[in-house]
């Protein structure tokens, strides 16, 4: 009998040990940092009050945030973590693209490919999309609602650690069940099935979902109860409205997925919930998509809010119609909860349910269209200043239109028979996630850069190279996927029929271009953060609350 100390276990253990050591070091830095920020007088205040003061200030990116629990610090924690997870998951994506250069698995074995496939999907959705949204909301809400009472520090902090542990579980469990975790595959605990430790990924996802749900409740509390009286609901920022919409959506649907994941874990021990043999394997699919579809809106709605906030600043005008913006965000909240069945058209839901879900999927295009026209009208009326964030926003709107139109095509039951499970679907959501969710998040990071870096400017030519490479990469990769998907190219495969090689190779080139683009962002970010201070720390998204 061997000791059973695998390489992965050793890496995991060292990582945890390193975290503990870092924790002790950080604690001492954080005490000084907090005193410097607040001054001697305020740092003697009770914690709740000093947290409120802290969360109303403009703040730099600092690892001391990990030892402080005001809203802005929690936001900074999530921003750092989600960026790291974005680059890990992106690396997995590039690995997959390179491996798909040849029709036969070459660079990666099928099992390795499937591990990367699962890690890429799960980390991008739960780590990057959800994490960056939590980060933006924690970071921006205190200034946009002029928070007058920051009272949930400890809870937010615990939720953050749960989020981090969940992400580590996802990374190290090497699950091969994809982010759907369809039963019974996920409970085949072998390397060739769902992965030996796929239950650990389920636990990781549950931790992240609990963190997300509790944070949503905290956001609603901030917005509806701890808002400054000078801000009425009728003039609250559209970003805050988008957080309202997202939070309600999460609270209404995430618990179902938490329960379903719990059932899956229990089914490992005693299969009673989704046991194959009485057809209820589809029961998990239904519970999963009841959350899985709202999740993609959770990833999109805050990006809408950020566009609504940034667009007017770069066009020198007000948003074309504030009311239709709020209407669109609230309609998205309600309607996006009703469309999940369109992922299961060909599972045998029956014609009537197919008709209902495809019709609701057409209807959900209406609020999205309202928002898109609102942005176009704002740009039309104003004078567009083509800064780097604005370029990302315009590209995000264009990509959202492409992805949205292909989404409406997918909502058609007949067309869905032809392209379900192909790269057309992958193309549809990569246009939206890369163009809109990721593009707008990076636009916001560029906008916040002077503040986050404590008074530095990013290198504009490098940022433009990042923009052009990532945009061209997205369009090449997702464009060829779309064409290949309509020709019948299946997604989630480690190898493929030789007839699809042209599309796959073109997509691989696009993926590598995309990767280089984000690498340039990383270089720019690190290089610019250590330049001498050259500018003031103000930005257009947050203002220091002084009242």
């Amino acid at each position: 009998m061997t000791l059973g100390l695998t390489f992965e276990l050793a890496v995991f253990g060292s990582f945890i040990a390193l975290l503990i050591v870092m924790g002790f070091l950080l604690y001492y830095f954080a005490v000084d940092y907090k005193r410097n920020l607040l001054g001697e007088v305020s740092s003697a205040l009770p914690k709740k009050e000093s947290n409120t003061v802290l969360s109303r200030m403009k703040r730099e990116l600092s690892f001391s945030a990990f030892m402080m629990d005001d809203s802005k610090s929690i936001g900074i924690r999530y921003l750092i973590t989600s960026l790291v997870l974005f680059f890990i998951a992106g690396l997995a994506g590039i690995g997959m693209r390179i491996s798909l250069w040849f029709p036969v698995p070459s660079f990666l074995t099928p099992v390795q490919y499937n591990i990367l496939l699962t890690a890429h999907g799960t980390l991008m959705l739960y780590g990057w999309a959800t994490g960056s949204i939590l980060g933006m909301a924690y970071y921006l809400l205190p200034s946009s609602v002029k928070l007058k009472n920051d009272s949930f520090g400890v809870v937010s902090s615990i939720m953050y650690w749960m989020f981090l542990v969940g992400s580590l579980f996802i990374i190290f469990s090497k699950s091969t069940a994809t982010w759907y975790f369809y039963y019974p595959l996920v409970d085949q605990l072998t390397a060739i099935g769902g992965g030996q430790y796929s239950f650990a990924t389920l636990i990781g996802v549950m931790l992240i979902l609990i963190a997300t749900t509790v944070s949503s409740v905290i956001f609603l509390r901030m917005i509806f109860f701890d808002r400054d009286p000078s801000i009425r609901l009728s003039n609250m920022s559209l970003f805050a409205w988008s957080v309202v919409s997202t939070a309600f959506l999460i609270i209404a649907s995430a618990p179902v997925s938490i329960i379903a994941n719990g059932f899956l874990i229990y089914d490992n021990i005693n299969p009673i919930f989704f046991q194959a043999g009485n057809g209820s394997a589809l029961g998990y699919a239904i519970m999963f998509w009841y959350w899985g579809h709202p999740l993609v809106y959770v990833a999109v709605i805050p990006a809408f809010g950020l566009i609504y906030e940034m667009l007017p600043r770069f066009t020198g005008t007000k948003i074309y119609s504030y009311k239709s913006g709020v209407l669109s965000l609230l309609m998205l909240m309600i309607l996006s909860g009703t469309v999940w069945g369109h992922h299961l058209f060909n599972s045998g839901l029956g014609t009537v349910w197919d008709l209902i879900f495809s019709t609701t999927s057409f209807i959900v295009a209406v609020p999205s269209a309202i928002s898109v026209f609102n942005w176009i009208a704002t740009m039309w009326v104003g004078r567009v200043k083509l800064t780097v964030p604005m370029m990302f926003i315009i590209n995000g709107i264009i990509d959202f239109i492409i992805g949205g139109v292909s989404g409406v095509m997918l909502a058609d039951v007949g067309a869905n028979q032809l392209i379900h499970g192909t790269y057309a679907v992958t193309s549809h959501f990569h246009f939206i996630f890369l163009g809109l969710t990721t593009g707008v998040a990076f636009a916001a990071i560029y906008v916040l850069f002077p503040t986050l870096s404590g008074g530095r400017n990013y290198n504009v030519p490098m940022a433009k190279v990042h923009f052009y490479l990532s945009t061209i990469g997205t369009i090449v990769m997702s464009g060829f996927w779309l064409v290949g998907g309509f020709a019948g190219m299946p997604r989630r495969v480690a190898g493929y029929f030789g007839i699809f090689q042209t599309y796959q190779d073109a997509a691989a080139v696009g993926g590598v271009i995309l990767g280089i683009g984000f690498l340039i962002f990383l270089i720019n970010f690190l290089y610019s953060a250590y330049k001498p201070v050259e500018t003031n720390t103000s930005n257009i998204l947050e203002e220091e609350v002084t009242s």
Binding site: P184, G279, A281, A377, L418, G488
Partner: protein
């Protein structure tokens, strides 16, 4: 600062254009479903039309059992002009039979049987694939349809 000339007119044009497209899409979708309900995936029920072929997916191959009792693995033989109904199920995890040429795309679920009806018209050799991720050799769960 420019003004959006004729604000109301622009808004009406947008609303009408978008709604027209979406209503057209929804209605044509409903009409298609009404006329072709047997050519989309449905739970087994009623009288299946034409020749019934039983399909079983398992990790990682497809078995096709024809009415005369013979069966084939990863190769489906059909005759042009004949109507077929595939009755699809799975032995283990969820699979999805996808024949791009005929618009066939049906989940194979253990303990649950779906059916789909189609009529091949042109002779030739076409591909089919599994498009629901099902484990290590998911990508090799594919084959050819021969129409004579």
């Amino acid at each position: 600062m420019k003004k959006l000339e004729n604000k109301t007119k622009a808004e009406v044009v947008w609303i009408v254009a978008v709604l027209t497209i979406l209503v057209w899409a929804a209605v044509s979708n409903a009409a298609y479903l009404h006329d072709n309900s047997s050519s989309i995936a449905n739970p087994v029920g009623g009288n299946p039309q034409g020749v019934v072929i039983n399909v079983t997916g398992y990790q990682w191959a497809w078995t096709f059992t024809y009415p005369n009792g013979t069966s084939s693995i990863d190769n489906l033989s059909l005759k042009a002009g004949t109507t077929y109904t595939l009755v699809i199920t799975s032995k283990d995890v969820i699979h999805d039979l996808y024949i791009p040429e005929f618009g066939v795309n049906v989940y194979a679920v253990a303990g649950h049987t779906n059916q789909i009806t189609f009529t091949p018209t042109k002779a030739g050799t076409y591909i089919f694939e599994c498009v629901e991720y099902c484990g290590e050799y998911h990508y090799e769960m594919r084959g050819t349809v021969t129409v004579t």
